[in-house]
């Protein structure tokens, strides 16, 4: 019976490892390869930790299986347990080695964290062209784009825009459009309680905290519609804050904004109202596009 128990404690890590190994093929794994550079770095770090952790897991479980089997064998014959109060050398080894490994893991993470979270590391062009301000509320995401004609000259101007909506801002709900191929900055806030911006396939998460406006930087590598959910308990409808991030080439993104503008500033009086606005736009667009 005691050998059976020893095998029991050997068997379960085998089952656990097997489950881990078959998981990717069963789709019990990441919802797809990371579609952002930061996400790819996060995945790499994850796999690095996974390897270290798996080695330690197997090592400790094997050691445990070994001492259990040994104990089961030794207790067959009369006798006494080994008498020892410990080993100074072993203590030093198993303190210093894990300390080194843990510090290595910790310091190896810092760059990625700094690139994702430290504002000063964001490209100035991205900071000066915020794609949108997202306001979470129970239970939807409200999106405010600066008018595509608007150019921010300095960071204080961006801050001013975040404090005070402009009359020509464009609004949408639950669908954020971003251009691919460049790092985009969106600003996250909430109208009521805490929420969290979570796009699994981009590996991006950021809490929306009442009273704070928090910038998020990310880059979508290829055009697609990515699922976007809430990751911080915000009330009974937390699970259904279903939205998507639509990444598209720069031109499609710009024409989306134009369409949004047309729709929004349609005065509804005459069918030509939109045309007039559109005409006004197209002039300035032509001007804006000239350098290109």
């Amino acid at each position: 019976m005691k050998r059976l128990w020893a095998f029991f404690f050997i068997l379960w890590p085998v089952v656990a490892i097997t489950a881990g190994v078959i998981s990717p093929s069963m789709h019990w794994w990441f919802p797809g390869a990371a579609q952002s550079p930061i996400g790819q770095r996060i995945d790499d770090l994850f796999y690095m930790i996974l390897i270290i952790v798996t080695v330690v897991f197997i090592g400790t479980q094997v050691a445990m299986g070994y001492v259990l089997l040994q104990g089961a064998r030794d207790t067959d014959a009369p006798g006494r347990a080994m008498f020892t109060h410990g080993s100074h050398a072993l203590e030093v080894i198993w303190t210093v080695v894990p300390a080194g490994v843990l510090l290595f893991i910790a310091f190896y993470q810092l760059d990625t964290w700094a690139a994702y979270r430290v504002k000063e590391n964001y490209p100035m062009s991205s900071r000066l062209s915020p794609v949108a301000e997202i306001t979470a509320r129970q239970f939807e995401w409200r999106i405010r784009y600066p008018n595509p004609k608007r150019k921010f000259e300095s960071l204080p101007e961006v801050d001013a825009w975040l404090r005070q909506p402009a009359p020509d801002d464009l609004y949408a709900v639950n669908e954020l459009h971003v251009p691919t191929g460049r790092a985009v900055v969106v600003h996250l806030r909430t109208a009521d309680v805490q929420h969290a911006f979570f796009v699994p396939i981009l590996r991006i998460k950021q809490d929306a905290v009442p009273g704070l406006v928090i910038p998020i930087i990310f880059e979508a590598l290829k055009p697609d519609a990515y699922e976007w959910v809430c990751a911080e308990l915000c009330g009974w409808g937390h699970y259904k804050m279903k939205a998507r991030v639509k990444a598209e080439p720069k031109d499609d993104f710009e024409s989306y904004l134009k369409g949004l503008e047309r729709e929004q500033f349609d005065d509804g009086v005459s069918g030509h109202g939109t045309k007039k606005a559109a005409a006004g736009e197209s002039k300035s667009e032509a001007a804006a596009e000239a350098p290109k």
Binding site: H85, F107, R203
Partner: protein, 619 residues
């Protein structure tokens, strides 16, 4: 340590006098005073134990409600559904789902794990294991138990006031919790929750003051600090953690109460329009709550683990007939975990938008707290190595603890790494991680501890076969429930979703959740084996003597069960607690701490390397 001895000697003398006196008085106590409103630490400990075992079943039932919804969303709940919410046709509503997981966590943390370790085992073991006749403040001790009941009352009543139970998670983050109209559960129920929290806080605080005083002042003659069993070390350091961290939470709780009831704005910024209500006024900061809450609740994680670590060290040494490997490193590890435990709270807030520099420092401190945990793991393995284990329920549960602790500890590294945590924060990965620590580690240690100290509590043994079956089923059910949660987390399934399957990327996880729910049901029902075994063995278990496990520590020198006042012979301690299989003691493979040395003090601890200068024995 020798300077302590005169004082200890006089305390010991005092004990003997009080002891005799105590007996005379306590014989006249009525049943009511003896078993209900008792000031005897053993009765209080057993009261804590039985209360927490009942609360374990309550918390488990709430968890099964959560699991039911995740496996069979929006389908009628069998039996219970019709009783609890007939107006919804026996179906769990999304509001009720948020209440279920909030109260599952609150009950399990505040009414099960913390009180079972500090309350039940702390109370029962501390005076017995240090050779005292009772706690330093017996009445305070009784109050600490009786403050549990208003807490239980408030928690349970919160389901029946307003729109149902509190629903902002056990972390009750503002502004969801602080604004009354933010959610159906944020009304009166949330106030009740805060009052309950205050009551458990009082309870813990009275306990911790008592434990500290008792351990510092009331040790038996010869019981130097480095001759204390690791259980006592763990309880001592846990009490320090509680004493320093708890006031912060209690204060924060009152601040939130004031925000809700008196219109202060500690945590509520201005201009929030919640549920189309008038905008809020004020200049508060919700992150302040997170900092204050986690300043308590991270050390609380160790309050929920350290005593279990200490208990496992004692049980493993006894069951393996071998001294604890590296006694002093074990003590220093506990102290290091406690010390570092105060500077890692920010790792719960990596995605909260606090200053990114804090994320970096909290990551490094969090990584470093894995170090003493690793040292402890290696030392437990070292304790088992070359031992002669008795494969009984106690030992199996300790092995379960160790095996699960490794998983829980290693999965923590992913979340300690800030960039990786960006993805894993608030997914099922964290749910897997803390269940491996709080259930896989702490509860297996508790199951072992119940079996281990049961003979001392009731003078009878628990049934071995049922105990092993209980361990087997719980272990299978536990891993079947919680191991797949790692995969759910990697697949990006967020926590606290009433219906994750409305999101296409999570749809295919339904069968896995159903498997987990089946395992959870198995695990839940297996606990009836424990309760049944416990209740049956109190009356019908085989009787045992003073020292059924042939253990060294002081509690086994007391009569079984110990009378009020504990020891018939005031104990004197001659050696450390783990002298198993000592070559200097050929008579038996254990050498009780109270057994006087035969050949004089010089020879008896010659081979003792762990105790160093303290091994010189009492004067």
């Amino acid at each position: 340590m020798s300077t302590l001895d005169p004082a200890l000697g006089s305390t010991g003398g005092g004990h003997a006098v009080e002891h005799a006196h105590g007996h005379a008085v306590h014989h006249e106590l009525s049943f009511f005073r003896k078993y209900i409103f008792s000031t005897d630490h053993k009765v209080i400990g057993i009261q804590f134990l039985i209360t927490t075992m009942l609360m374990l079943m309550v918390g488990g039932a709430l968890a099964l409600g959560v699991r039911w919804q995740l496996a069979f969303p929006w389908s009628d709940m069998p039996f219970f559904g019709r009783l609890a919410f007939p107006e919804q046709g026996g179906q769990i509503s999304p509001e009720f789902y948020t209440m279920l997981f909030t109260m599952h966590a609150s009950v399990m943390i505040f009414l099960v794990i913390i009180p079972v370790l500090a309350g039940a085992f702390g109370n029962y073991c501390i005076p017995l294991m240090i050779g005292a006749d009772d706690m330093a403040f017996p009445l305070l001790n009784a109050l600490s138990y009786w403050f549990m009941w208003p807490a239980i009352g408030f928690f349970m009543a919160s389901f029946f006031v307003g729109a149902g139970g509190p629903a902002s998670g056990w972390t009750v983050y503002p502004t969801l919790s602080a604004i009354k109209w933010a959610a159906p559960g944020s009304g009166t129920a949330q106030t009740f929750w805060l009052l309950a929290l205050t009551c458990v806080g009082f309870s813990s605080m009275m306990g911790s003051v008592n434990y500290l005083t008792t351990i510092i002042n009331m040790r038996a003659p010869g019981m130097t600090l480095f001759r204390m069993p690791l259980t006592i070390w763990a309880m001592f350091i846990t009490a320090i953690l509680q004493a320093f961290a708890l006031p912060v939470l209690t204060a924060a709780g009152f601040m939130q109460l004031a925000d809700r009831e008196f219109g202060t704005c500690f945590f509520i910024p201005s201009g929030l329009i919640v549920n189309n209500h008038a905008p809020t006024i004020g200049g508060g900061q919700p992150l302040l709550w997170q900092h204050l809450f986690w300043f308590y609740s991270h050390p609380a994680v160790y309050i929920m683990l350290l005593p279990a670590m200490g208990m496992v060290s004692d049980m493993l040494a006894t069951m393996c007939r071998k001294p604890v490997f590296g006694y002093k490193p074990m003590v220093f590890s506990i102290a290091a975990i406690a010390g570092l435990g105060f500077i890692v709270w920010g790792h719960h807030m990596f995605t909260s938008g606090m200053n990114p520099a804090l994320g970096m420092t909290f990551m490094v401190s969090t990584m470093m707290i894995a170090l003493p945990s690793a040292v402890k793991t290696f030392n437990w393995l070292g304790t088992m190595w070359g031992g002669r284990p008795r494969f009984n329920t106690v030992f199996l549960n300790c092995c379960g603890f160790l095996s699960m602790f490794v998983v829980g500890g290693l999965s923590g590294i992913f979340m300690a790494a800030v960039p990786v945590d960006i993805y894993f924060h608030d997914t099922y990965f964290i749910v897997a991680h803390f269940h491996y620590i709080l259930f896989g580690s702490t509860l297996f240690a508790v199951f072992g501890g119940i079996t281990y100290w049961f003979p001392k509590m009731f003078g009878r043994m628990m049934n071995e076969s049922v105990g092993k079956l209980h361990f087997f089923l719980t272990f299978i059910g536990f891993n079947g429930t919680f191991f797949p949660m790692h995969m759910l987390g990697i697949a990006g399934m967020p926590r606290r979703y009433a219906d994750p399957y409305i999101h296409p990327y999570l749809e295919h996880l339904l069968p896995m959740n159903q498997f987990m729910t089946c395992c959870a049901i198995l695990m839940g029902f297996a606990q009836f084996l424990l309760l049944g075994n416990f209740a049956y063995s109190i009356f019908f278990g085989p009787k045992c003597g003073r020292n059924p496990w042939e253990a060294n520590t002081l509690e086994w020198a007391a009569p079984t069960p110990p009378p009020h006042g504990n020891f018939d012979v005031p104990p004197v301690v001659y050696r450390g607690p783990y002298e198993y299989s000592s070559p200097s003691h050929p008579e038996s493979d254990f050498w009780p701490q109270t057994e006087p040395p035969k050949k004089g003090p010089q020879q008896d601890d010659a081979p003792d390397i762990s105790h160093g200068p303290d091994g010189t024995g009492p004067h």
